[in-house]
Amino acid sequence: MKIVKKVQAGTMQSSDLMVFVEPFDELSVEIESTVKKQFEHLIRAKLDAVLAAHGVTAGKIRVTDRGALDYAIEARLETALKRAGEE
């Protein structure tokens, strides 16, 4: 899918994350997290998997995470992508 809009999903509450998505000429994923030291690689792997599953090859993805679990990361990113793809 193609990212055509600048959108956001999620919250700043504990165990949740904010996802910011906007159009960009390449794929860039930035991660900020209160548990970055321990889990950045796992968060990135999850984000990459969701992006791949949706066929996203370009876009600026920024997340700020507060210890969200896998399914929350997936749900928030998927919501953001669906919003970003709407014409």
């Binding site: 600048k6 700043m12 509450q13 904010m18 900020e32 920024r62 700020t64």
Partner: protein, 334 residues
Amino acid sequence: MVTELSCAPDLGKARAFIERNGLSFEEVWDDLVGIHEGDEVVAVGARAGNILKMLVVEPSRQNGTLLGELVTELVARGFTAGYDTLFVYTKPEYVVSFECLNFSLLANHERAALLEYGGGLERWLTSCLPLLRPGLNGAVVMNCNPFTLGHRHLVETAARQVDNLYLFVVREERSHFPFAVRFRLVKEGVRDIRNVILLDTSDYVVSSATFPSYFLKRDDPISRIQMELDLTLFAHRIAPFFRISQRFIGTEPCCSMTHSYNETMKRLLPHYGIGVVEVARKESADGVISASRVRDFLKSDDFASLEGHVPGTTLAYLRSVEAGPILEKLRKGE
């Protein structure tokens, strides 16, 4: 639930709530939101441009989720309005509360701290990586509203004393001449000085985030705190990145705000191993050269007096058709 506060009764309650909790209510904002419980306001916060302000959570409720709810709403609204990075000033004891929300500390002071959300500083510094040079490096930060022979003298003098001189032009759009014009006139005016590296200050030196009262020309206790935060950020994060060991300034006989910024610099920066070098202001046949005098000449259409004050490149621009609307505004005192 977070709601927008816009009707008069809500605003009245918000104001009373903010003032009861020791902050002052400022009339200017883009978004003002709050959380009610029954009829009572329990949390309020506002966004003005890229600054979050008037954030207050009822003291008895500060261990819960209210701050996160408020800030989520303000950050989402800020993002929609085009701001990827947002700043907040807070008391030092609340730094951790904001860090838990993924804000990062830019500068700390005994009475205030400045934090940002969105990682803008890291992104800006990373984008500056190609400009890094080894050697003895100096820095000048200038607004250049517009570029004068005084600015030229400071840059020339500074450039002779270092291997590389980083020339930061203030990016903030709070001056008579827009950033694009100020930047271009600096670029043209220093083109022949080979060791000058020209860049802008982004949001991180003398900006409405780091030092808002600079633009209000108000020299009061609040502006003192802001200038210390601005300089702490420079000393802590910016100078080490560019390996800057000298900051050059011009003597400031006129503006008391700039004068105290300079004095604060001399007091603070040496603690971080950064020397402050003050260069005597250049004088023309009719007194000191300053951008504010240049603007006065422009106000009175006195192009003859301009010549001893600005270089040919600036003069050519001021005489161009392009400068017309800006000069018109200046004359009208806008």
